[in-house]
């Protein structure tokens, strides 16, 4: 997998730090990601992966220290909606959707925030486009989100993020609670999104998925970056093996 992504860095995070009391959940984390590149993020439970996303997007809290450059602009002090407007989108580990709205209405809410649709008809078209991109079945557009299975709700969530026309997509454990078949479809989707030129940061517990799609892999342990580089080399790194399996068995 020696892809050569374009050289322009879209998202550059440096010195990101977030503490809860005495616990340094994220400790001086720095990384950059380019357009058309997937940066995988791995690490044991509680290593600070989700907290890193939270601190970057300020949902629900910002970092204690650190800078975020989005397409060259300092954005670490911007509120979540302003980050979304500038092209930084994220998803959550749980399917975070509006349960009583239909799939397409969920995505329309996102489209409406961007002013791209101009009219209600335009909003609907853009929402349908976003649902198509993620491979959501057209026959289920008007189903209430609460009636959909987990995988389809996740697709609605990803479509909502895509409807913001993002440059960077932060995916927080999209494969959690999915079946092997669904994980295969998710893998294809993530690769498709990369083909579209998005910069993707992917947190994942399913290591096989992570090493397969990632161009580079970053491993966190106790809030710190312990490895960052080629996925194949990173998973062989003794420090990484120790962090995952405990002291060498």
């Amino acid at each position: 997998m020696n892809r050569t992504p374009s050289e322009d860095v879209i998202l550059a995070v440096s010195g990101m730090t977030k503490s809860f009391g005495a616990l340094r959940a994220v400790d001086d984390v720095s990384f950059a990601v380019r357009a058309g590149e997937i940066l995988g993020v791995a690490g044991p439970n509680g290593s600070g992966k989700s907290t890193l996303f939270n601190a970057i997007t300020r949902i629900p809290f910002g970092p204690d220290a650190g800078t975020v450059l989005l397409a060259g602009e300092q954005v670490q002090d911007l509120p979540p909606h302003a980050l979304a407007a500038r092209g930084l989108a994220r998803t959550f580990q749980r399917e975070t959707v509006f349960q009583t709205l239909s799939a397409v209405d969920n995505v329309i809410v996102a489209v409406e925030q961007t002013n791209r649709g101009k009219s209600m008809r335009g909003n609907v078209l853009l929402a349908e486009q976003a649902l198509d991109i993620v491979g959501f079945p057209a026959t289920l557009h008007n189903w209430k989100a609460s009636a959909l299975p987990v995988f389809l709700r996740k697709l609605v969530m990803i479509a909502g993020a895509m409807a913001l026309d993002p440059k960077v997509l932060l995916l927080d454990e999209p494969a959690s609670s999915l079946t092997p078949d669904e994980i295969d479809r998710l893998r294809a989707l993530i690769l498709h999104l990369r083909e579209m030129g998005l910069a993707i940061v992917l947190i994942e517990h399913v290591l096989e998925l992570l090493t397969h799609v990632s161009d580079r892999l970053m491993v966190l342990d106790q809030g710190r970056v312990i490895a960052l580089g080629d996925p194949v080399e990173v998973v062989r790194n003794p420090q990484v093996i120790e962090a995952y399996l405990g002291v060498a068995a």
């Binding site: 997007t57 949902i59 629900p60 809290f61 509120p79 979540p80 909606h81 302003a82 979304a84 407007a85 989108a89 994220r90 998803t91 959550f92 975070t96 959707v97 509006f98 349960q99 009583t100 709205l101 969920n106 809410v109 996102a110 409406e112 925030q113 961007t114 969530m157 909502g160 993020a161 409807a163 913001l164």
Partner: protein
């Protein structure tokens, strides 16, 4: 028993009360469904609206007439609601115990507003003129013009609110935020702005309600306490599944109150209302018209 004429009079009185309660409850629900907190200062907002309206309208104040009073009170309360949210709710909104904390801060706000009214306008009770004078003959029954205007204005306000929530981008975003804050932020919605707006709209509706209450009863700094209690009963009785749920419940409470006043007496009526509310909670905990959970 009761003659047909009396029945109509009592029923129309109940509908007027119901309309008033609907206005208050819809305001209360606007904050509860969006932010997930109960604003105990809603009653004080009603009082503040009444006094600002009096200041503009009454000959003892600026003497500009009741229409000016309605407009200024509603607009002023809209701004005041946003300020109230910024000072007493927003600083705590990320706390896990925000529901409890907001009980304290909004009660504190109530005390501050009521004391301020006392200091500015004094403790002597005042009264506002009613919107609309004279009576209108509807064939079977003659009703005060003021009642008709009240019901019409409330109906128009609630219809406007329904249009805003259902048909405008901001209104739909507000309904979305009420369901899931994280999803809303994910979809790029400016959540703090919508919270402030919800508080402003809620307070504006309270201000309008205050003008009506001030025309029906004597105004005192604590005049909002009883309407707040009724609005609370309405919200619990009706549930808040849809923004229309409290409206039905409000009409029901208004009618029950009116007939209970006639048959059981003024002092037993609050007990009757609470008994009905508790009975409904036994049988249908989510309220008569839907769920307690914050949905659309």
């Amino acid at each position: 028993m009761i003659s047909f004429d009396t029945f109509l009079a009592v029923a129309s009185g109940g509908l007027v009360l119901g309309a008033l309660y609907a206005l208050m409850a819809a305001g209360l629900a606007a904050v509860w469904t969006t932010l997930g907190i109960f604003n105990f200062a809603h009653g004080a907002f009603i009082a503040l609206g009444a006094y600002i309206g009096w200041q503009l309208a009454d000959a003892g104040g600026a003497g500009l007439g009741l229409t000016a009073g309605v407009v200024v009170a509603t607009v002023a309360l809209f701004g005041f609601g946003i300020l109230f949210h910024l000072v007493l709710v927003r600083p705590f909104e990320r706390r896990a115990d925000i529901v409890t904390v907001s009980v304290i801060t909004t009660l504190a706000g109530t005390a501050i507003i009521e004391s301020a009214i006392n200091l500015i306008w004094g403790p002597r009770s005042k009264q506002l003129a009613r919107l609309g004078t004279g009576e209108i003959d509807l064939g079977l029954i003659r009703i005060p013009m003021g009642d008709l205007v009240l019901v019409a204005v409330v109906a128009a306000t609630l219809a406007g609110l329904g249009w805003f929530l259902g048909r405008t981008r901001t209104g739909r975003a507000m309904r979305a935020v009420s369901q899931n804050r994280e999803a809303a932020e994910l979809m790029g919605i400016d959540v703090p702005r919508l919270y402030a707006l919800a508080f402003g709209l809620s307070a504006a509706m309270a201000g309008l309600a205050g003008i009506f209450v001030g025309g029906l009863r004597f105004m005192t700094p604590t005049m909002g306490a009883d309407p707040l209690m009724k609005a609370l009963i309405v919200v619990i009785l009706g549930g808040i599944a849809r923004f229309t749920s409290p409206i039905y419940a409000a009409l029901l409470v208004g009618l029950v109150e009116s007939f209970s006043n006639y048959f059981v007496g003024l002092y037993w009526t609050p007990a009757v209302l609470f008994a009905i509310m508790i009975a409904v909670l036994y049988v249908k905990p989510s309220g008569l018209f839907g769920h307690h959970q914050r949905t659309l």
